[in-house]
């Protein structure tokens, strides 16, 4: 018994000893995944040997939730990645520190916060995805309204919208379109109701979504272009996408410094590093992210990005309305629309 206690005391001591090597620890919350974050960590630490980057990888909604919960005593220094909508809410709740990056002039007004609380890093167009073994590009739905066609009944699988930034952006765009066209929310809810009728399942996480899509449990989905492009590059899952013809929400993925960070210097250095031209080009080539900065030479970008940029028509996204109403819309959808068709 005594020996056992001695053993784990030793282990605890050992852990304490190895967790601190004297470098400044910079904590980054990010949904960008092991591969991209690991790559940026290595490169950044090469350039800044006195900083130890420790990233914590989680979903973008979860980052917001955590930053919010830790508001009184922030654990993170940099928040790298989530739709701008999430950053807007954090900005409203006074969770972010203003910072104007050296390239501040090189992004559109849409892609930055007026008080410099966040800046756009990547652009994420939302698209219609499909199983390319079952459907040809011509047979797949070509536009948002096409997915409501009864012939797709029980053939659509999408991510659980409440937990997915991508799905929230699509639902938000549909609601905004309804308000712009008819002046009311009803048409938007009706659209979502018809989508629910065609939806076979709402899926926990992207990876399970891809599996189900690849294995034909459903053959059409709504998802984002960079992730589908990544699937095509990395895996053999038979998927492809259609860029919706009437336009698509162009999600701005952003970066910010967390208010109350203990490492403002290192945080700024990391901010600048991951949004530098070489880092953005590498992210585009190896990790299929579309840079938000407009001052990069289009020749240096991969062909699929140049091609997409030419074909995408951004849908208007009024972020003020979204910040105000999106939560309410999602709550209404969750309580009154989700699975309603299945119940009848």
């Amino acid at each position: 018994m005594k020996r056992a206690i001695g053993c784990w005391l030793l282990a605890v001591g050992f852990l304490g000893a190895c967790s601190n090597d004297g470098r400044t620890v910079l904590t980054v919350y990010s949904p960008h995944g092991k591969d991209l974050l690991g790559y940026l960590e290595t490169e950044f630490e090469k350039a800044n040997p006195s900083v130890d980057v420790q990233w914590v990888d989680m979903g973008s909604q979860e980052v917001l939730d955590r930053v919010r919960a830790e508001g009184a005593n922030p654990q993170a220094d940099v928040w790298f990645g989530a739709p701008a909508e999430a950053f807007d809410r954090a900005a409203k709740e006074n969770l972010l520190e203003p910072y104007t990056p050296s390239w501040a002039g090189a992004v559109d007004g849409e892609a930055r916060h007026p008080q410099h609380l966040w800046y756009g890093t990547y652009l994420t167009p939302e698209v219609i995805g499909y199983n390319s073994e079952v459907l040809s590009a011509a047979d797949a739905p070509q536009d948002w309204d096409d997915v409501l066609d009864p012939k797709w009944k029980d053939k659509i699988i999408i991510r659980d919208p409440v937990a997915s930034g991508t799905m929230r952006a699509i639902f938000g765009a549909i609601m905004l379109r309804s308000i712009a066209r008819t002046g009311s929310e009803e048409a938007g809810y009706e659209w979502l109701r018809r989508l629910d009728e065609n939806t076979r399942e709402y899926v926990l996480n992207p990876t399970i979504l891809y599996q189900k899509l690849g294995r034909r449990e459903g053959i059409v989905t709504l998802w984002d272009m960079p992730d589908i492009a990544t699937l095509q590059q990395r895996t053999k899952i038979p998927v492809d996408y259609v860029i919706p013809s009437s336009g698509t929400p162009l999600l701005v993925d952003a970066i910010a410094i967390v208010r109350g960070t203990g490492q403002p210097e290192a945080a700024r250095a990391y901010y600048e590093f991951v949004t530098s031209t070489p880092a953005l080009l590498e992210s585009a080539r190896r990790f299929l992210r579309i840079p938000a900065r407009t001052d990069l030479h289009s020749d240096s970008l991969p062909a699929w990005i140049r091609d997409a940029n030419a074909r995408i028509k951004p849908m208007p996204m009024d972020r003020e309305i979204l910040a105000r109403d999106l939560d309410r819309w999602m709550k209404y959808w969750d309580a009154n629309i989700r699975n309603q068709s299945r119940r009848k």
Binding site: A4, I5, W8, A11, V12, L15, S19, T27, G33, K34, D35, Q54, W55, V56, M58, G59, Q61, E62, D65, R66, R68, A69, E70, A72, N73, Q75, R89, E133, D160, V162, A163, E201, Y202, L204, N205, P206, T207, I208, Y210, Q211, K212, G214, R215, R216, E217, T230, L231, R234, T235, K236, I237, P238, D327, M330, K331, D334, A335, N336, N339, R342
Partner: protein, 549 residues
């Protein structure tokens, strides 16, 4: 028993203070939070059809899971402790395997097996030439199915432990006196097993109430409270999330009260040390039937593990319409081996599980001792505190901890733990208090309190009585409970995802990160490592157990 009330309090006070501080204090914040803004959040909850539906499905699932777990667990425990037949040892080993499947991994493995495009589903579909999948793994019954598989182990372990402490000579004596088998079961065996059965039923019920992974993965079709809480939280509706948490806690407290009444009614103790003789089954036909049934059960129990192993060797992305993955590779393991960070999550999880479980065993033993063998005025409070972590879903435990231990303030009893290594061991410790305490209690309940008094009367010191009488009596429960606690902690997912930091990133989070990085195969390979780890722990605990026996 009237002796040394001061001594009892001396023992009780530190435990009570510790539990009040770590269990009650953070969660009181949740209840207070639900009343922020008066009754507005409560009205919102009552008016929401989604929340009403969530409440009723949560209760239906929990009750159904208890029955399913009993139906599987009790007969299996009887079969394996009372009878000798070919294959008994193999069955005994695999019977606890479901506990070695971490929650997230288990659910995903079920998806691969019985999901719409799962192996079993497609095999059945092929066999009968059906156009459509014969079933879909969604809705309430899918969740109950998974719960039955993972949670019957609680019933099985508790009832087996009860049966092993049980002196079969009592049964034989009853038989000698002419009692029929049915009569013996009703009058001798069952009364002695009631504490174990009630304890495990409670455990299954509480686990189902707060169950998160299964409803989350199959949840497209239905809502339960635990997923509603997460949805509200992600939606920024913290007030509603607090109300939902409080309602869930209230249902659990109600169930707890019910079970306590059941337990109080039945107080039967055996004075024996427990000696089990297994009856060999003499009928040839019955032996064969049992062996075949045993084999089927073994396969069903082991299938989810095999599935994880299979996927860990499958090439990602090429498995589309076939029944089984068409291509196999060592690539997934190679990727793991070349990951410089491979061992960090594993050593983190093991270390945190050891710390939490060691604390659990010490604290829960003292608590169980006080609850079962001592009478003092703080007993009801202690009983409530020990059971409370069940009543609170892991997400809420994590939330409470995050809100309480995020700043240092001596006067309100706060220390900064959020963002440090220690927050997760604390969360695991809290989550497993009821598990270890119930196991220790049900072992101690079978000890005749007169034995302790007798030892003291014969002049044994308190410490000697403890060592020679009380601890040996509690040991089977402590080992069974401690093992389950360590296994749960090593694979813990729900509280971890809210609280983990870079320094204590556990295995389940690493598996999730692999899933997020599109690497199903690597995630499966990592899960295989986790399963092996859990098995190694189980074998280790078994060795310890045998050393003491």
């Amino acid at each position: 028993m009237r002796r040394s009330a001061a001594g009892t309090w001396l023992l009780a006070l530190p435990v009570l203070v510790l539990l009040l501080w770590t269990v009650l204090y953070p969660n009181a914040a949740v209840i207070v939070g639900s009343f922020e803004g008066g009754l507005a959040h409560w009205r919102e909850f009552l008016a929401s059809p989604a929340d009403r539906e969530a409440l009723s499905s949560t209760l239906i699932i929990s009750v159904a899971s208890v029955f399913a777990a009993l139906v599987i667990g009790v007969p299996l425990a009887f079969l394996l402790t009372r009878f000798e037949f070919p294959g008994r040892r193999a069955l005994r080993i695999v019977a606890t395997l479901p506990a070695a499947l971490p929650p997230l991994v288990g659910v995903i493995s079920f998806l691969f097996l019985y999901g719409e495009s799962g192996v079993v589903t497609r095999a059945v579909q092929d066999l009968f030439g059906m156009d459509e999948a014969p079933w879909r793994l969604t809705g309430i019954w899918a969740i109950v199915f998974v719960h039955a598989y993972t949670m019957y182990v609680f019933v099985f372990l508790f009832v087996s432990a009860g049966l092993e402490r049980f002196d079969t000579s009592l049964d034989e004596a009853a038989a000698g006196l002419g009692a029929s088998p049915r009569h013996r079961l009703r009058r001798v065996t069952l009364p002695l097993l009631i504490p174990a059965i009630a304890g495990s039923m409670l455990l299954v019920f509480m686990n189902s109430l707060g169950s998160f992974s299964a409803p989350y993965v199959f949840g497209g079709g239905i809502r339960v409270l635990s997923t509603q809480i997460l949805a509200s939280k992600l939606n920024g509706a913290m007030g509603l999330a607090y109300v939902e948490t409080t309602v869930l806690a209230l249902s659990a407290v109600a169930a707890l009260g019910l079970f306590r009444i059941l337990q109080r009614k039945q107080r039967v103790v055996s004075t024996g040390k427990g000696s089990v003789t297994r009856r060999a089954i003499s009928s040839h036909g019955l032996r064969i039937a049992l062996a075949i049934a045993g084999a089927v059960v073994v396969i069903a129990l082991i299938l989810p593990h095999l599935m994880v192993i299979l996927v860990s060797f499958a090439r990602d992305g090429v498995w589309t319409t076939q029944i089984l993955p068409p291509e196999y590779t060592l690539e997934n393991y190679r990727r793991l081996a070349t990951d410089a960070q491979l061992w960090r999550p594993i050593s983190n999880s093991v270390l945190m599980a050891l710390i939490a479980t060691a604390a659990n065993i010490v604290v829960c033993f003292v608590a169980a001792y006080l609850l079962v063998l001592r009478r003092f005025s703080g007993r009801p409070l202690l009983g409530l505190l020990v059971a409370l972590p069940w009543a609170i879903p892991a997400t809420a435990i994590a939330l409470g901890l995050a809100a309480t231990f995020n700043q240092s303030d001596i006067w309100t009893g706060r220390v900064v733990l959020v963002g440090t290594f220690w927050i997760l061991p604390l969360a695991y410790f809290i989550r497993n208090i009821p598990l270890v305490a119930t196991a220790a209690e049900s072992s101690l309940r079978q000890l005749d309190p007169a034995l302790e008094d007798a030892a003291r009367g014969l002049g044994a010191s308190w410490w000697l009585t403890m060592r020679k009488v009380v601890i040996p009596a509690a040991r089977p429960g402590l080992i069974a409970g401690g093992l389950l606690a360590a296994v749960t902690a090593v694979g813990e997912f729900v509280a971890s995802i809210v609280l983990y930091t870079h320094a204590n990133r556990p295995i389940s989070i690493e598996i999730l990160a692999q899933l997020r990085a599109l690497a199903f195969g690597t995630a499966a390979a990592y899960s295989v490592l986790l399963i092996l780890l859990v098995l190694a722990m189980a074998i280790g605990a078994r060795t310890v157990e045998e050393q003491y026996a």
